[in-house]
């Protein structure tokens, strides 16, 4: 039982991170019908900014997180403005290729600036002491028979939930949210209603990028290391798959999809792969297989309602 609970916690943690990234994909796709391939890189840069802020600049954790969010928000703004806005009238294919180009560019820029070697997330407390994040909230510290919930888990999940609720509220209840929904339905009509479409689109990108930044820092906190310029590739694809799984364009769907992907990946690693006696590396393959299955059976996703292009 403890094993199950521990793995469930792992899955939820991973799923939460995927959900945060997936939200960015789904918001952007909903409004400009573009798969933002560079989103994974925004996530990666968020993690790096957090690491750099805490270890090089010596800032406390909260400041690091804030810096990452601000930096990524700005990055999202820039990407939209410089690379995607000129492509708004262009054919879909061209826009997709541009996105791939931005992704490539950002990844290698990060490699040049921060080096090719992966970094570790810096220690948050002076050596020997225990930071709140590492302290056990629940559970003992020995071998089998203990369910262990460290403080960081509580933190990551509370911030994820809080952001999700905030985002949902924003989209459903505020004016800007209404503007976002209007633009995603019909940009021309929205412009006719007096909505500044450009500003709404920029805002959407910034929102998505900010969420990705939180995801990046959370990841650094959770895993503790392996922060490298390639870290956004896999999570990016998985998170996009999660967004599709939940219904692309649907915010709650992205959240749900992210959590499901986390559950599938960890569940496969913990139960399915050992049972089938195949390598644990296939856990990601199961997540992709689910994606393909969903596309086959229900392309609009679990919670999706928008009609898919009929061609």
């Amino acid at each position: 039982m403890d094993f199950f609970l521990n793995q469930l916690l792992n899955a939820l943690l991973l799923g939460g991170i995927y959900a945060l990234i997936a939200v960015g994909y789904t918001l952007v796709y909903g409004i400009v019908k573009l798969v933002n391939f560079a989103h994974g890189e925004v996530y990666m840069i968020g993690a790096f900014l957090g690491v750099v802020a805490i270890s090089s600049l010596g800032l406390p954790f909260w400041a690091g997180l804030a810096l990452a969010v601000l930096g990524c928000g700005l990055l999202g703004l820039l990407i939209e403005y410089l690379a995607y806005r000129p492509m708004r009238q262009a054919p879909r294919l061209a826009a997709l290729i541009t996105a791939v180009g931005v992704s490539l560019f950002l990844q290698n820029l990060a490699m040049l600036v921060w080096g090719s070697e992966p970094r570790a997330f810096p220690a948050l407390a002076p050596s020997g002491e225990e930071h709140f994040f590492q302290r056990a909230i629940l559970g003992g510290r020995d071998g089998a028979g203990a369910v262990f919930i460290p403080g960081k888990f509580v933190f990551i999940w509370s911030i994820t939930l809080a952001l999700m609720l905030l985002l949902d509220w924003t989209v459903q209840r505020t004016t800007i949210g209404k503007a976002m929904r209007a633009c995603s339905l019909d940009k021309g009509a929205a412009a006719l209603m007096g909505i500044d479409v450009n500003r709404v689109i920029s805002f959407t990108f910034v929102l998505g990028a900010a969420m990705a930044a939180v995801a990046g820092v959370s990841y650094g906190l959770y895993i503790g290391s392996q922060i490298g310029f390639r870290m956004g590739v896999y999570p990016g694809v998985i998170a996009f798959s999660a967004a599709v799984l939940g219904g692309i364009g649907n915010l709650r769907g992205a959240f749900l999809g992210g959590v499901i992907m986390g559950l599938v990946e960890v569940g496969a690693r913990a139960y399915l792969c050992p049972w089938l006696e195949i390598s644990g590396g296939y856990s990601v393959a199961f997540a992709f297989a689910i994606l393909i299955g969903v596309i086959l059976v229900r392309p609009t996703g679990i919670l999706g309602s928008s009609a898919v292009d009929r061609s």
Partner: protein, 381 residues
């Protein structure tokens, strides 16, 4: 006219002959050094590069060899076998390079082997431990042990010296990690050490080790053996600690290096690691002196790989002094070290080769204490 042409030709010849002889004599001797200078194994690369630089600087300060300075040409294989092929081709076709020190990762040495063999240039590895590295080529040598030896040693150490019964294995799914894991598991099964779970990961791709750690905990492992390189090992111990897992961690020689302590932080302390060589109070005078010179020159302490590279380079230089720079002559000279008496005495011990080019050096066990690698209290005889 014909006469003027002859005159021009003679003048050209005279000019050529008049070129100072020193221009030709100063042509440097070149050694190729191949290793992971970038990528997740860059820490190894730093150590290798520094050690090679130190060895060459010392040799050049002593006047070089026959008045010629010695230079190293560095080839970055990023720890990947396709890049290793590119580097190998480059070194093999560059006829000025008389010998190659490298590669480091087993997968890279294996990839480069056929190319070096066809080009008939010696490949001398200070870090590749996979059992097949020296097979099938007269030109491949190494100055450290093989993984069948290391894996078996690790299993014996856990069972006999530490007295533990249940062990989990996490291995990096490449030539090195898998080979070491296979050797370990085979020996464990033979001596009755229970391997409760074996989990693989992909270097540079897998980063979330929490599910693996929970699998190991659930299987009630008393020890976890990491058959891989330092970046992932550091992450594993760090995550383990934060999950409250307190089992004994052990690592193969790939884990040995400052990168492990940097990434793992405090969680790295207490990890036992096998290594072909260790600096410690009982090291030879030559080793201690090397450590001191290394620290003075580069401001950091050398590790095993620096020591092995230094030995490899100094041995290569000895060979060049003895037989010159012809590639095949050097190969024959290397192959001539067939016994302990005829072996090369370096700071890591005596290097001599069997008919394959393999070298048998003992395995030592290090433990991480306060961020440094020191000899473990319990060594196995």
């Amino acid at each position: 006219m014909k006469s003027s042409r002859t005159f021009l030709g003679l003048a050209a010849l005279a000019a050529l002959a008049a070129l100072p002889l020193s221009l030709w004599a100063a042509e440097p001797i070149r050694l190729g050094v191949a290793g992971p200078f970038t990528g997740s194994g860059a820490m190894y690369g730093v150590m290798i590069r520094n050690a090679a630089t130190l060895a060459l600087e010392e040799a050049n300060a002593a006047g070089g060899i026959g008045g010629r300075p010695i230079e190293a040409e560095y080839g970055d294989d990023e720890g990947k076998n396709d890049k290793a092929v590119t580097v190998a081709k480059k070194f093999a076709t560059d006829q000025r390079i008389c010998m190659v020190i490298g590669h480091f990762n087993s997968t890279c040495s294996l990839a480069g082997k056929p190319i070096y063999r066809d080009a008939e240039v010696v490949q001398f590895s200070p870090g590749s431990t996979n059992i097949h590295v020296c097979e099938g080529s007269d030109y491949t040598f190494r100055n450290l042990y093989r993984d069948d030896y290391q894996g078996a040693f690790m299993a014996d150490y856990i069972k006999k010296t530490l007295g533990l019964e249940r062990v989990a294995v996490f291995f990096d799914n490449d030539d090195y990690g898998k080979g070491l894991k296979d050797a370990f598991v085979a020996r464990a099964q033979a001596i009755g050490l229970q391997v409760v779970t074996v989990q693989d990961y992909v270097r540079e791709k897998t980063s979330d080790f929490a599910p693996l750690l929970d699998l190991a905990r659930n299987a009630q492992a008393q020890a976890i053996f990491i058959s891989g390189l330092y970046a992932e090992a550091g992450t594993i111990v760090k995550q383990a600690r934060e999950k409250g897992i307190r089992t004994q961690f052990l690592g193969g020689d790939g884990v040995f290096g400052p990168g492990f302590t940097e990434i793992g932080g405090e969680a790295a302390n207490g990890t036992l690691i096998t290594t072909p060589f260790l600096f410690g109070p009982s090291s030879s005078e030559a080793a201690k002196s090397f450590a001191k010179r290394f620290k003075e020159r580069f401001g950091r302490e050398p590790d095993t790989w620096a020591a092995l590279t230094y030995d490899a380079v100094t041995m290569a230089l000895d060979g060049i002094r003895a037989v010159g720079t012809d590639r095949n002559d050097l190969r024959d000279w290397m192959a001539g070290h067939t016994s302990r008496e005829k072996g090369f005495k370096g700071i890591t011990g005596v290097t001599y080769f069997d008919h394959n080019g393999d070298c048998l050096k003992p395995v030592m066990v290090a433990v991480v204490e306060g961020g440094r690698f020191v000899p473990a209290p319990k060594q196995m005889e």
